[in-house]
Amino acid sequence: MYQYDQYDQAMVDARVAEFRDQVERRLAGDITEDQFKPLRLKNGLYLQLHAYMLRVAIPYGTLSSRQMRMLGDIADKYDRGYGHFTTRQNIQYNWIKLQDAPDILADLASVEMHAIQTSGNCIRNTTSDQFAGAAADELVDPRPYAELLRQWSTFHPEFDYLPRKFKIAIIGSETDRAAMKLHDIGIQLVKNDAGEIGCRFYVGGGMGRTPMIAPVIGDFISPLQMVSYAEACLRVYNRYGRRDNKYKARIKILVHEIGADEYRRQVEEEFAHILTLGLEPPAAELERIKGFFEQPGFDSAASDDLDLSDPDFALWVDQNVHAHKQPGYAIATIALKPVGGIPGDASADQIRLMADLARDYSFDELRVTHAQNIVLPHVRKVDLYTVWQKLDEAGLANANLDLISDIIACPGLDYCSLANARSIPVAQKISERFADLGRQKELGELKLKISGCINACGHHHAGHIGILGVDRKGVENYQLLLGGSEGADTSLGTITGPGFNEDGIVDAIEKATDVYLAQRSEGERFLDTYRRIGMAPFKEAIYAKEPANG
């Protein structure tokens, strides 16, 4: 894992001091709430419906056990004993007092963490593949590049007041586990025929009210020019992105309106200029960072055998464990999706337990996934059963990864001041309706995502089944979408028709899964069947008997 040197530490310490001063000026009335708002947002502090919410950055979703333990301690000390892992691989605390915020940032800084740029119209925390450095299908480890981007984007003086927020994701596998093409910039590390590494820049993707899949803008940019190319992409956006309407201010609208070719032309012109300025960190810096991401000291004699005689353990392994690049090791995902629970929530005790497991069984490392789960990236297969038993005792052995109850949901109207409808109760009802694991496994991979408003924080456009909560004349109403996907085959979901109330949407989903079970061909997932047979049979079943109550 990356470790701070004195420079990195000085930067987060300076941020804590700066924010402490800003909070003092606000509490003293020296600055107005309007003036304070962008300052607190750049420190991840939102004013929500009931309290302040603090969003802590987890750069590219990677944590040490010491950092994870601190997240648990903060939940106990400053919040109500739990935290909420987010689709941006971050963690949020929902019950924060303004006057505590500087102390929380100081606690975070003591373990090389921060809340820098987790909000505001700036470059947000860079996300990545949660299996980076471990996945069997990995071409290039994206973490060193993500760290380079983290440093470049931190307190970037030119891009702190962009038209709108800006999200970057970077991956190094053919399998896209980071929804890369749905980001403002998605970078895929690829290799050419000569074996050289290049950065493929996808620019202008996003969800929100106008979802778009990013086109390729830079096909093969040298990793030693990656920062300069990103700088060029951002400068064109900062100068020409729309500022007249916040709903048209994301870069996807700029790229869409002027076209990918014209945007590319402008970026290339700017890129050529920027290359003359020597802004790129030298190769030695990338090498220095790579040194922190050497593979851990794997036991080359570790057995590749796995005793699956305990049937419950076998179910968990089948669903939650992925192939590791190192024989004898596995990647274990802890699904934070218990039946009837809140997706992504973990108690302080659970957070500390996961920290202990990482320390004892995963080379001190954890990852947060954009699907709001936690990963132990490097577990010896012989330790998996012990790990599973400890998870089971803590209520963390949910064997439902990528099944219908592994739901992504935004905080919704229970917390969020932007929401139109609640997301959490819908997620809870769906997971209760499909509580039987055998039934879930029969349905197979089924990614269900819920957003409580059109801002799409719950990624509903990219769900095989997506749910969008809206407000209809003061009543919560839920629209159903089918056919979205976020992987290499990224697609956007289509609305089935009129919306439903809270119980109606659960019924509609059940009917959709019935259509799938009746119509699927051998080996087809829900998404595959939908793509083959189209919307009509689903629509017919969903709206068949009683009229839509929306």
Partner: protein, 142 residues
């Protein structure tokens, strides 16, 4: 002329009023020009040798186009005064300085002491820009 609030140059301030970018192109004797957020700073590049003052207007601090305008001018060798005017707040000063501004005329006055403190916010910087400060990567690799 504008009452100077904060200026970090040793040369004499320009007395001429700043003209708009449009008007500037037709006035071969103008030495001061004012950039609005929608203006293209690159339109001034052919004339940099006769410009002594560029004012960059920030009608609202949330509109960050002026940061790019400032950097573009400096990156192309502009050495005259670069003044941020308008909704320029204490917490934006350090970033503005890093983008090449060397004078500030905020709507709301800022004291010189507060400004000095703001400029000292960051002990180090991660990026090379136009202010001459070495990036952290340069310090690491000397």
């Amino acid at each position: 002329m504008v009452e100077q609030n904060l200026r970090y140059r040793t040369d004499e301030p320009v007395g001429d009023p700043a003209v708009t970018v449009d008007a500037f192109a037709d006035q071969s004797n103008a030495t001061a020009v004012r950039i609005e957020p929608g203006d293209d700073a690159r339109a001034l590049l052919p004339h940099l040798d006769r410009i002594a003052l560029v004012e960059v207007n920030f009608p609202a601090y949330t509109d960050g186009r002026g940061y790019s305008a400032a950097r573009i001018l400096r990156e192309h060798g502009y050495a005259g005064e670069l003044r941020a005017v308008g909704d320029v707040l204490l917490d934006q000063l350090s970033h503005m300085r890093r983008c090449g501004f060397d004078s500030f005329a905020p709507n709301q006055p800022i004291s010189a002491e507060a400004a000095e403190k703001a400029f000292a916010t960051w002990p180090e910087v991660y990026q090379k820009t136009v202010d001459g400060r070495p990036a952290i990567w340069a310090r690491r690799h000397g």
